[in-house]
Point group: C2
Chain length 145, copies 2
DNA sequence: GCTTGACTTAAAGCTAACTTTAAGTATTAC
DNA sequence: GTAATACTTAAAGTTAGCTTTAAGTCAAGC
């Protein structure tokens, strides 16, 4: 059993944020002793799922929905499974998107490395849009679909 | 040369957002004809970079800084290069983080598939924390470092 | 010449996710 | 017993990034 301060330390999350999460219903049925929250393994695992769902782009009120489903036993297994499947797809898309972002960033790194070497951008501009070195051309094309 | 409406269509960005970006200084020196903005290839390419930097987690005011550097010629090549290098590192970290998020999501998908098959979570809980099927154990460990 | 549709502005409004504040209670260390 | 520390609350404040509103200008088609 942990206090809010201990959990705050463990997860590097401000206690005020944990209180906010509780107020928003993310720890349904959390135990209390004379007003003070007692975080058990259930809440610790909940917090790991909260972080995961938040990273997947889910909003707090949708995470609350999930936490409510979790208190309803086997009747909501299907909904919960579908939620995770949907989130998985979403994150896979986000990864694809970030891969394109990285390609653009790598292209720009090359661009400025080359500009620094040359002292100007003229040689680069004369290679655009399709006479860049092969590796760089790939990055450029990926970023300029 | 494009009007704000054409650019809005091309990039699927509301015209109001493009005006907001302009107000925030993201199109320094954009041309106007009797008050109306004229988006040239320079602004189109700027918009691609804006999207890229935004996806990398940069704030609008930092993107503005970059756009100002871009008007200052070769004197700022170094800063611009470093900006893209820093962003690249940041996005690579974000990708790692998302990979962990995906592992947790995959684990949860398996969890609920199994719970649906069994009708309850008992068998799964008896396998925790280190007697899960090998492939699933990997996901679980990755998500519970 | 008048209607239509796309553009313009400044300013106010919105939303999510916290974060801070102010005032108070409870527990632990000495 | 008292001082320090950690907890409690409700409510107000903050921030980023838009989005909407209201009032107006401008060019093209009929």
């Amino acid at each position: 059993m942990y206090t809010i301060g201990q959990v705050s330390e463990m997860f590097s999350i401000p206690a005020s944020t944990l209180r906010y999460y509780d107020k928003e219903g993310l720890f349904p049925g959390i135990e209390r002793k004379s007003g003070i929250r007692k975080f058990s393994n259930r809440e610790i695992e909940a917090l790991r799922v909260i972080e995961c769902l938040k990273n997947s782009g889910l909003e707090i009120r949708e995470i609350k929905q999930f936490m409510e489903w979790s208190t309803e036993g086997s009747a909501t297994y299907q909904q919960r499974k579908e939620l995770f499947e949907t989130r998985l797809k979403k994150v896979a898309e986000e990864m694809d998107n970030l891969q394109k972002t990285m390609d653009m960033l790598k292209y720009k790194c090359w661009y400025y490395e080359t500009a620094i070497q040359d002292g100007n951008e003229e040689r680069i501009l004369s290679m655009l849009p399709d006479k860049l070195p092969p590796e760089i051309q790939k990055l450029y094309d990926s970023a300029h679909d």
